[in-house]
């Protein structure tokens, strides 16, 4: 019996080849084991269980046709082949579409059904698939996915690699790295599932499940790979549908189902690897030699029994002798001025993936010309286009800030309608416009006309609100330095004052008691535990909590008590924001119980994206209103602060193309007269970009492409869009409109490079 085992990489994220060899050697001491590798840097070639090493040239220089012919001869001559390399297995499926009796890897049809992330073969198994989206959707929608899943998402490569992306900037960086490495933009984003990782590994031959075991990870490497685990039987509830699945997809070879078990005991299937796992010999140690069962299934030759040495296994690092016929190569020279020697993927797997991409191995035979755009352009509300139509942009000096008047009115109207809809006889919901979001008088006026309160963080903002028409009794005063420029404190009674610290609360209590300050409601801003923020009273220690309880008891009885919390849902995620909301209800309930002071107003700041505020498909707002009386039966008013959700879509920035720079027959870079000075939030979220066809005047949203938009500033990071698809008709002088620029893009924009 001669068995070829490929994939002998044995670093900290190893391939299973060495483990397979150890297991087969246990079961078939007389078998001739041939280790197959594509780099002499893979240390597994020196493992003692291999009788021979068949060292090929790296994948990037390998003649695939010659190699395929050689493998066919090996198989025809009776050799078995067990592959540990996912990409090699995919290539085999192309070379041997109907399989080969001695090739112990899955056929093409089976592979397609375990392709991630959908893993269509999972039907019938007691597992769920974590939510995912392809990165072919627009950046706008990708950002929405990240928000929806609280930025607990993984950007995954098509075959290997996953990167956690905690912010938009990180997402863009990782997407660029993964796309470039794997030669494709077809990545996917998947929601994280918290829990404990476990796997089922199995062997099957022509649709018959031969053996399988469950392994729970008990120790992990830095990459969360298995370092130790325990092995047990697969229970019948899983085994029966697994057997059925293997039969249905006609699986041959090893496989590993990687799963997470969450707190509710639900299993989530992350991926199905078309090969044995690297820990496979751990199973053999427990007496379950899965590779041997595969060989036995394929040949009919019974293996020797593998002794039960333990129920658990772990790994150690060990030094082994180097085979003299494969002496170690020198280390490559570090690149000039760089630190470290690049040794990643020594066998050229990344380049192999690119070659397979070009051969359409992953596209089920569909040839790709590599030019057609697969990306969706973002959807843009019709009101944006209508508003742009009413503006004479070509007559404007660019970069220009555009006020989308009808859009603004529409969003304020919807916000007003929402609070009306949510209000009940017992609980009134009121909007407050956060002036810092965008202090443009047109927006403040819209807020006033729409029945909003004005939320301010300084006395200068109070002054502005009063100038536009607000009265002090319609103003909420907030923030850490609200008494700056005290000399302009207006006469009259504020609607509400929220103190940012216990020290400030003490001072305000003193001034209210002395009559120096008047406010209908007096309260505090809270910073709950587990929140990274510099604002509010941090109640994460019992000492501060006790001081807070004491201070609240001293609030004058004539001021009604109120509590404020603020967290940008666009940063922390929508789900997390609602958790924070419920968390604040619990804290407030405790404060009420401990102080005897009843909370009458709850002011909740949102930092909402417009879509998140309007969509609310889960009915979270209604649920929240319904929940409040359970915790705080005396709350009479909720103040909602949708400033960002209203201001952001209300303005845009028009820029003009100054220069087009070509490379490889396409526009690689375009210089525009705008910059990050007019678009400072560029790093935090994608902006939808509209391009105007100068002939027809039509506006078209731009999808993702290969053009970089460089700002006018002499600043390295002044890149206002990294990858957009400029129309072929684009020329110098054309106008691009960056939408969604009406919130902090506007209020935090700065003058730079204008002399």
């Amino acid at each position: 019996m001669k068995i070829y085992i490929s994939g002998l990489y044995s670093g900290t994220n190893p391939q299973p080849g060495v483990g397979i060899a150890r297991s087969i050697r246990t079961a078939y001491p007389q078998a001739k084991l041939v280790g197959v590798e594509y780099s002499n840097r893979c240390s597994g070639i020196h493992w003692q269980d291999f009788d021979e090493i068949w060292l090929q040239r790296p994948w990037d220089e390998l003649n695939l046709e010659t190699h395929a012919a050689e493998i066919k001869k090996v198989l025809d001559d009776g050799g078995l082949w067990i592959s540990s390399i996912d990409l090699e297995i995919m290539w085999f499926a192309k070379v041997f579409p109907d399989g080969h009796p001695n090739l112990l890897t899955p056929p093409a049809g089976a592979l397609r059904q375990v392709g991630k992330p959908a893993i269509t073969a999972h039907e019938g198994l007691p597992v769920k698939i974590p939510t995912f989206v392809t990165t072919e959707i627009s950046d706008w929608d990708l950002h929405a996915f990240c928000r929806e899943h609280d930025w607990k998402v993984w950007l995954k490569g098509p075959y290997y690699e996953a990167a956690r992306t905690r912010s938009w900037a990180e997402f863009e960086e990782k997407r660029s790295i993964l796309s470039s490495a794997w030669g494709t933009e077809k990545l996917f984003l998947q929601a994280h599932v918290s829990g404990y990782e476990e796997s089922i590994t199995l062997a099957a031959y022509r649709g018959e499940l031969l053996d399988c075991v469950r392994m729970r990870k008990r120790d992990l490497t830095e990459l969360s790979k298995t370092w130790a685990g325990d092995v047990s039987e697969v229970e019948e509830e899983f085994l029966a549908p697994l057997r059925e699945m293997i039969r249905r997809i006609n699986w041959t070879g090893g496989a590993e189902l990687e799963m997470v078990r969450d707190g509710d005991n639900q299993l989530w299937l992350l991926e199905v690897n078309p090969r044995f796992p690297a820990w496979i010999h751990g199973s053999t140690i427990t007496g379950r030699n899965i590779p041997a069962s595969l060989v036995a299934g394929a040949t009919g030759i019974a293996p020797e029994e593998s002794p039960v040495l333990a129920e658990e296994f772990t790994r150690v690092v060990m030094e082994i002798p180097v085979r003299p016929e494969y002496p170690l190569s020198p280390l490559p020279e570090p690149l000039g001025g760089r630190i470290g020697h690049s040794l990643k993927h020594p066998s050229g797997l990344v380049q192999f993936a690119n070659r397979l991409n070009n051969l359409s191995v992953f596209d089920e035979g569909e040839e790709s010309d590599g030019t057609a755009s697969v990306f969706q352009a973002p959807r843009v509300p019709p009101s944006f286009i209508d508003d742009l139509g009413s503006l004479n942009i070509t007559a404007m000096e660019t970069p220009a800030s555009l006020f989308l008047e009808n859009t603004a009115a529409e969003y304020f109207e919807k916000a007003g309608a929402l609070v009306e809809e949510l209000s009940t006889d017992e609980l009134r919901v009121t909007n407050a416009y956060s002036i810092k979001t965008n202090p443009d008088a047109r927006l403040i006026k819209l807020a006033l006309e729409s029945g909003f309160l004005a939320e301010t963080i300084s006395l200068l903002e109070v002054k502005k609100a009063i100038e536009v028409g607000f009265k002090p009794e319609q103003i909420v005063l907030n923030g850490p330095a609200k008494w700056w420029r005290r000399e302009i404190l207006p006469e009259g009674k504020f609607y509400s004052i929220f103190c940012d610290s216990i020290e400030e609360l003490d001072q305000v209590i003193e001034k209210v008691e002395s009559g120096e300050l008047q406010t209908e409601h007096l309260g505090v801003r809270l910073r709950t535990p587990n929140v990274v923020s510099r604002f509010g009273i941090p109640i994460d220690t019992p000492e501060v909590f006790e001081r807070l309880i004491d201070a609240v008891q001293r609030i004058p009885k004539e001021s009604k008590f109120a509590v404020h919390f603020h967290m940008a849902s666009s940063n922390v995620g929508v789900g997390h924001w609602w958790h924070l909301f419920e968390s604040i209800l619990r804290w407030c309930s405790s404060i009420e119980a401990l102080t005897g002071r009843l909370i009458e107003i709850l002011d909740v700041g949102g930092g909402w994206f417009p879509e998140d505020l309007q969509k609310d498909s889960a009915g979270n707002f209604r649920k929240a209103i319904d929940l409040i009386p359970d915790f705080l039966p005396h709350v009479r008013q909720i103040i909602s602060e949708p400033g960002k959700a209203l201001a952001q879509p209300s303005m845009a920035v028009a820029m003009q193309i100054l220069e087009l720079r070509n490379a490889e027959n396409s526009v690689a870079e375009a210089v525009v007269d705008g910059s990050i000075a007019e678009l400072p939030m560029y790093f935090f979220y994608p902006h939808r970009i509209l391009y105007q066809n100068m002939q027809s005047g039509d506006w078209k949203p731009l999808g993702r492409g290969k053009t970089k938009l460089l700002g006018r500033l002499c600043m390295e990071h002044d890149i206002v869009a990294s990858n957009i698809e400029l129309p072929e008709t684009a020329q110098v002088g054309d106008i691009l409109v960056f939408c969604d620029a009406g919130a902090y893009d506007r209020s935090m924009s700065y003058v730079f490079g204008r002399g």
Binding site: G263, N530, I539, E543, H576
Partner: protein, 225 residues
């Protein structure tokens, strides 16, 4: 099985000689010593000071849970408190301000947390096997001037945790000091659980639960290994 082993050795004492007899008597004595121990409690002054502390613990837990499943163990307790010696009685207002709490105090806090989450939580007492090296270290580091600790004996220790009812009479066992769910699979080595007892005012004698493959009767010591 540990406890069976004890009684078996005792009956064989006269046959097999003095050394075995001493070992058996020691083990029996250890067990007898812990057999009537009660799960640790945190006391309440009956005043606002302790009520503030208790509200702070449960409200903090909800914040720390981060929207995760309520069956997620309150790992944050061990980030807040080091594991070490506590003195009893300990009051709520003292406990939350301590830098160090022992397994009993941590389990008592975890019990309060699980209960506030709406879960059925019971107290768990454990006998675990470690090594004489480990117990010697604890004896020295817990500042008892080399005097044997009441919760250690040879290579055995008395420990406390929590049991959470997850439905269908099944429980999970949380070790608040370690910050992990205790494996129900029997083992007989370093760290192994040898015996377990469930207790709590919300339990009736005779009620039984499944912990993995084990069946555990409330308020009775159960040998695991």
């Amino acid at each position: 099985m540990y406890l069976e082993g004890v009684s078996k050795t005792l009956t064989e004492t006269s046959v097999n000689g003095a050394a075995q007899a001493v070992e058996a008597v020691e083990k029996k004595a250890v067990y007898e010593h812990w057999k009537n121990w009660h799960a640790s409690q945190i006391s309440h002054h009956g005043k606002i000071c302790c009520e503030i502390a208790r509200e702070w613990i449960t409200a903090t837990d909800f914040s720390e849970l981060n929207g995760d499943c309520v069956l997620t163990g309150p790992r944050w307790l061990r980030q807040k408190f080091n594991w070490g010696a506590s003195t009893f009685p300990i009051y709520w207002c003292e406990a939350v301000r301590r830098k160090t709490l022992d397994c009993g105090a941590l389990a008592a806090l975890a019990h309060e947390i699980f209960t506030a989450r709406g879960l059925k939580s019971y107290r768990v007492q454990l006998i675990q096997k470690f090594s004489s090296v480990a117990t010697s270290q604890w004896t020295n580091s817990w500042g008892s001037c080399g005097e044997p600790l009441a919760w250690t004996k040879g290579d055995l220790i008395y420990h406390e945790g929590n049991a959470i009812d997850i439905g269908d009479r099944k429980i999970k066992v949380w070790d608040a000091s370690a910050g992990w769910w205790v494996d129900s699979k029997p083992a007989n080595g370093y760290g192994a659980v040898l015996a377990i007892r469930l207790s709590g005012l919300n339990l009736s004698a005779g009620e039984s639960f499944h912990w993995g493959e084990q069946t555990i009767k409330a308020c009775e010591w159960k040998e695991i290994c």
